[in-house]
Symmetry: C2
Subunit: 384 residues, 2 copies
């Protein structure tokens, strides 16, 4: 297998982009990545999208996006694994470049979530759960994560305030990210006073409904050197699955798919988690980030709440988590999220993250998961 | 890149399987392929599915299927490119094995299309067209293919009877396939007298709405030899895109994505189309098979109708097309179709196709396309 490099990144301003359609949002991010890479050809394209079928009644975006990017007849594969569709797109592009099958691959993610009415967005997100055993009985995603939150609080003494501190930290970081959907700061009291969604989770514990896209251009390290492009290497990729239904899990307070995917990615990279300088993780709800920091091994089981309280995961802390603002502040256009995590890590490793720069960062890790952790993709990036 | 082998295949009886859910159908086919391969581990799984979101309100089937196959935490990627989602799953598995990333990969496809009411299936299939420029104006897939049929008849003199002969041939072949959804024979007169769907296409020109799954186990040729398994090689893979909207095409009577994908696959295989002994192609409508035989180069432009009339594409003809019965008689559970094409070719190259065996077949080609040809995947298989 060949070594893989990222030579270009692109991401548009995320938000409720009512004046733009999916194809427009995608093309904006893709063209930015292509321009950043300075390449004039693509051998292959991957696009992560969770549910353009339910959100905008459009499948077959492989053809649609090749068309609107002006790249016909380039091969395009749409990949889906719910909320880690973007991470999966990065992984498939990594495999294709590593294989030698293609040399210049665009990996991208896009979701258009706000062209819906009523509770359609909540329903569509619910299709990431087990429809026959969870969805049809009426539980939503905030409901599923609230079960995990209650279990974690009960077993480990994690506090309602510690959950809020995740939101406070990520909005603090997000306030330094001009592409974030919600670049404002929040306070612990503000989170505690916000609207209740599914006890104990409140609206400011939840990532938003967003439109957005992100893209990266991958090629072999050999090609990046030949093109004399500044590049970042992808040195590890791991994916794992878990039961789709929460009720089938051995332990409601543990993200096993994250644990396994991270072990695989770190093993491929030949690194330990303590070798990593920053982490972009899947904080779809505040409790998720706490559980993920435990599953990644940044802290012991049950210590994720204490970690955020102690500032361990803050921008200046030992393990900076979500310097971009995370899903919480940056937004969560589902299919784009996993790719945008990579975009942030690449910007950090190039030293281009400005106010939110992690000083001297040499390695970063992305963790992107689907549903309640039924699937997870982890990548390890390293500065060249 | 390593050489890739198929060491196991599985497919269930297709039809309106109201008593079985998507997960059940998938597991049946997957277990059959695993048993046929005689392997006890999988490094990775690909599953092609067009729209479980719209058909059964279930996304995230990566997690669901790993779970129900009892293979957690195996990495699973769902891939989608409308009606060539299955072919895309084969391609991605091929790349992963070729890369050396994984050694034992299950490639599969599944669709559960009959759990719907009213015109929901037609609507869902319509999401493979350009929703903003085609779907929202009310055109359906039979409507789009009828435009191509009329153009082909007008330009080349293709007759209504020649369209019917495609159905007659494929049902004749399908009557020899115990897994086919509609294993009955039809006559030219029967097709001409069947219900009109979209002039000139009648119900017996159209592939059906189906439930079904198919699967194959891929590994490196080196591993297949070490396991002393009988195997078939995949020696070429090509994918190409075209405009999603029919109105953007240069020529309504030509399948450019099929032409390009086939050229790429044959180039990788180092073969000419005349080196191929049988073809499994995407006859979603009778006109589609006629256009595909032209795009593959089996006959000159405009001669596809004449080819079926002359028996060139019959089971005993020079270029046997769709010995399995094709989508027309075998059924078309969208995501499964492209994988089932591979299953048929493997059975033919192993000499296990019984009454529908193409004598002495050494090489087979699969052609699977999305929408009106907005995407296409072609593979070339060779007996070991």
């Amino acid at each position: 297998m060949r070594e893989v490099a990222v030579i270009g990144v692109g991401m548009n301003k995320w938000g409720e982009l009512w004046e733009k359609s999916l194809r427009t949002i995608f093309v904006e991010a893709a063209l930015e990545a292509i321009e950043d890479a300075g390449v004039d050809r693509l051998d292959s394209v991957y696009v992560g999208a969770m549910s353009p079928g339910l959100f905008i009644a459009q499948e077959h975006i492989s053809s649609l996006l090749a068309d609107y990017l002006g790249k016909i007849p380039v091969p395009v594969a749409r990949v889906e694994s719910a909320c880690c569709s973007g991470g999966l797109a990065v992984r498939q592009g990594f495999i294709e470049v590593a294989s030698g099958m293609s040399d210049m691959v665009l990996v991208s993610g896009v979701e258009k979530m706000t062209d819906v009415t009523g509770n359609e967005a909540t329903f569509t997100l619910g299709t990431a759960s087990d429809q026959e055993y969870e969805g049809y009985h009426g539980i939503t995603f905030p409901g599923l994560y609230s079960l995990m939150a209650v279990a974690h609080m009960h077993r480990y003494g994690t506090t309602r305030e510690q959950l809020a501190m995740v939101a406070v930290k990520n909005h603090e970081n997000g306030s330094k990210n001009p592409l974030a959907q919600f670049p404002f700061k929040v306070t612990v009291q503000g989170v505690l006073n916000s609207v209740l969604v599914a006890d104990p989770l409140r609206i400011l514990d939840c990532s938003p409904i967003s439109d957005g896209a992100a893209a990266m251009v991958l090629c072999s390290v050999e090609t990046a050197k030949r093109l004399k492009k500044p590049y970042v290497k992808i040195i590890g990729s791991g994916m794992a699955t878990d039961t789709i239904a929460l009720s089938s899990r051995k332990d409601l307070t543990w993200m096993e798919s994250t644990h396994v995917a991270a072990q695989k990615a770190l093993e491929m990279a030949g690194k330990k988690v303590t070798d990593i300088d920053l982490f972009e993780v899947h904080d779809c709800f505040t409790i998720a980030e706490i559980m993920v920091t435990e599953a990644l091994g940044l802290v012991d089981k049950g210590k994720g709440g204490k970690a955020v309280e102690d500032g361990l995961t803050a921008l200046g802390g030992k393990f900076p988590v979500n310097p971009s603002g995370g899903l919480k502040a940056k937004g969560h256009p589902v299919g784009a999220t996993g790719v945008a995590q990579g975009v942030e890590v690449v910007k950090q490793l190039r030293g281009e993250a400005k106010e939110r720069q992690v000083k001297g960062a040499k390695r970063g890790l992305t963790q992107n998961m689907g549903g309640t952790g039924g699937s997870c993709v982890v990548h390890v990036f390293e500065a060249a």
